[in-house]
């Protein structure tokens, strides 16, 4: 058995690939649900109604999808340039804590129309600062950024823990380590009344469109893709590799930092060390499921959020551990990898 490179890839194949991958992942997770002794189809029905069965659950799912879209975009733009930013989790937390610090210590008195954009910018810059460390190590010492950006996640969470235990601790939190709250007028406006869905959802979708445009229509987008496809060739063709990677890194880290800022200003209002249930890591899967396409990220994020929100209800009803959501999402990354392979190769006997 041999694999042969496909001459051309039909568009239908590229569109059906993620669908097939997700169905395969759901089938594999179904086996795990069946082993646990629960009815599989009923379990999936409960996940769907749990995520979209009511106005409340649907808005909750979209609220959960918002940070996933941003961390998914962060991973997608970096991976496309073969910049392995696995540090979105840490960048998320740094963006979040920067917003909490700036709002409670410095800028809390500014009027909302100035304050909100300023805080979002601060969150994005905090994420950029964190990713520049592994990038600098790569460019200066040629250290693979996978491990360094990943180790920085642990450092960032500990740093946040230190701040919310110390200078940023909320004295009104009964000794609980929790940051001071951002001022009320720094909170993002709601998108729908009587729900937690906030304007950050619209911002995330708008950014997906912008990133898509930048990647497909600008010189920077072309350079970042060239840097990923063939770094040596890109340099030969006159692409400034270092500069391009710095720009890609800033975009990626900025998006992840913004995800943290938006989660604080849109949902929680303050920072704890469990602000993110792994949004940074799930963003990697979201990006892969979308085949690194910024518009695809929107749908991949909604799928992932559906699994997470829906699994809660299913878990209560059927006694299946909620971790089944994480398992399904991780499985869909693996099935997507295999599916993508078959868009590029065909089996030849």
């Amino acid at each position: 058995m041999r694999f042969e490179r496909r001459e051309h890839r039909p568009l239908s194949l590229l569109i059906f690939t993620p669908v097939v991958a997700v169905i395969a992942a759901l089938a594999l997770a179904g086996i795990l649900i069946a082993i646990a002794g629960a009815p599989v189809l009923d379990a999936y029905r409960r996940i769907l109604t749990g995520a979209f069965g009511s106005r409340l659950s649907a808005t909750e799912t979209l609220t959960r999808a918002t940070p996933l879209m941003l961390t998914g975009l962060a991973a997608a733009v970096a991976f496309r340039a073969r910049l392995w930013n696995i540090g979105a989790e840490g960048q998320f937390y740094l963006g979040a804590i920067a917003v909490a610090a700036a709002s409670s210590k410095l800028l809390g008195n500014l009027p909302a129309p100035i304050l909100i954009p300023l805080l979002l910018l601060i969150g994005a810059v905090a994420g950029m600062v964190l990713i520049l460390v592994p990038l600098w190590l790569r460019l200066r010492f040629s250290v693979d950024e996978v491990v360094t950006s990943l180790l920085l996640n642990f450092i960032a969470v500990l740093f946040v823990s230190m701040l919310i235990d110390g200078v940023l601790k909320d004295p009104l939190a009964f000794g609980w380590p929790q940051s001071q709250s951002v001022s009320d007028h720094a909170m993002l406006p709601k998108l729908l009344a009587r729900s937690r869905l906030h304007i950050g959802f619209a911002i995330a979708i708008a950014l997906a469109v912008v990133v898509h445009f930048v990647q497909s229509r600008t010189v920077f987008g072309m350079q970042s893709r060239a840097a990923g496809l063939n770094p040596a060739g890109a340099v030969f063709a006159g692409v400034p590799l270092g500069k391009t990677l710095v720009k890609v890194a800033c975009l990626s880290g900025g998006l992840a930092g913004l995800a943290g800022a938006i989660e604080v200003m849109g949902v929680k209002g303050y920072v704890t060390t469990d602000l993110s249930p792994g949004f940074g890591y799930a963003g990697i899967v979201v990006a892969m499921l979308a085949n690194l396409n910024p518009l695809g990220v929107v749908f991949a994020a909604i799928f992932t959020a559906t699994m997470f929100v829906g699994a809660d209800g299913m878990s209560r009803g059927l006694g299946i551990p909620t971790y089944i959501a994480d398992v399904t999402v991780a499985l869909s990354l693996l099935t997507m990898l295999i599916a993508l392979f078959f868009t590029q190769y065909r089996i030849r006997r």
């Binding site: 190590l137 180790l151 920085l152 642990f154 500990l158 823990s161 235990d165 971790y323 499985l331």
Partner: protein, 314 residues
Amino acid sequence: MTQLFDIIASAGLWAAILRIATPLIFGTLGALLCERAGVLNLGIEGIMTFGAMIGWLSVYHGADLWTGLLIAAIAGGVFGLLHAGLTVTLGLSQHVSGLGVTLFASSFSYYVFRLIVPLANTPPTIAPFQPIAIPGLSTLPFIGPAFFTQTAPTYLAMLIALLMAYIIFRTPVGLAIRMTGENPHAAEAQGVNPMKVRYGAVIIGSALMGMGGAFLTLSAFNSFFPTMVQGRGWICIALVVFASWRPGRALFGALLFAFFDAFQLRLQTVLSGLVPYQLFLMTPYILSIAALAVMARRARVPQALMQPYRRGER
């Protein structure tokens, strides 16, 4: 100052160093073997988590400790087979496949654990490996209690490090592994099958990772809890670079790293209240990054690392 000296002079510190180093030795050797054959295995964090879980679960359900360790090794090997299938046969990105294995293996561990052990206030425990005093050596002053009263897996880890150094540098199998990692095309021309070598290295390397995880639940602690691996896998990946892909240096690197870790734990109690404890917890990660920066340019990376090999395609 005298307090610092007291810490370094205590046998407890040196005994702790070996205990802390053991999972790192297993993991680093496992990652090193994979990378020597040209495959980066970022699945390590998840494989260690699964090894910790399945080893504990087997013993909890009546298997003896050695069987638990063996089951963890086999489970690690199965994940290695998955990673090899994706990266060697299909030639997919080793970065992404490894991350996929990690995400899957860790969430699968939590799922299986929660399914079998329902939520309880106090986690159920097992009777872990007990320290073995080596006759004659354990009564030596100072180094006796430190180096010769460890649990069996610690001795095993050291033994494997020496064995692996011998195999890699002194045997035909080792030569085949190194050639495959440097230049699979040349290896093939010499009659070596690079695919088989890579499969073998990734499966055995991943089995070692599974054992490293199992050490945590079968020897260091007596129960399993989510996130207990705490980035040890990623530290192992950094240690491989620090060790310049040499098993002997991997052993040394893991011990050096464990020294700093054990030292900061004790320093923490001396300086409690003066310095936030989070700064101490950061040190292992900061040290790993520093080690990477120092060693990365000096180290000789296996030339074919992360390059998929396809016959007749370059």
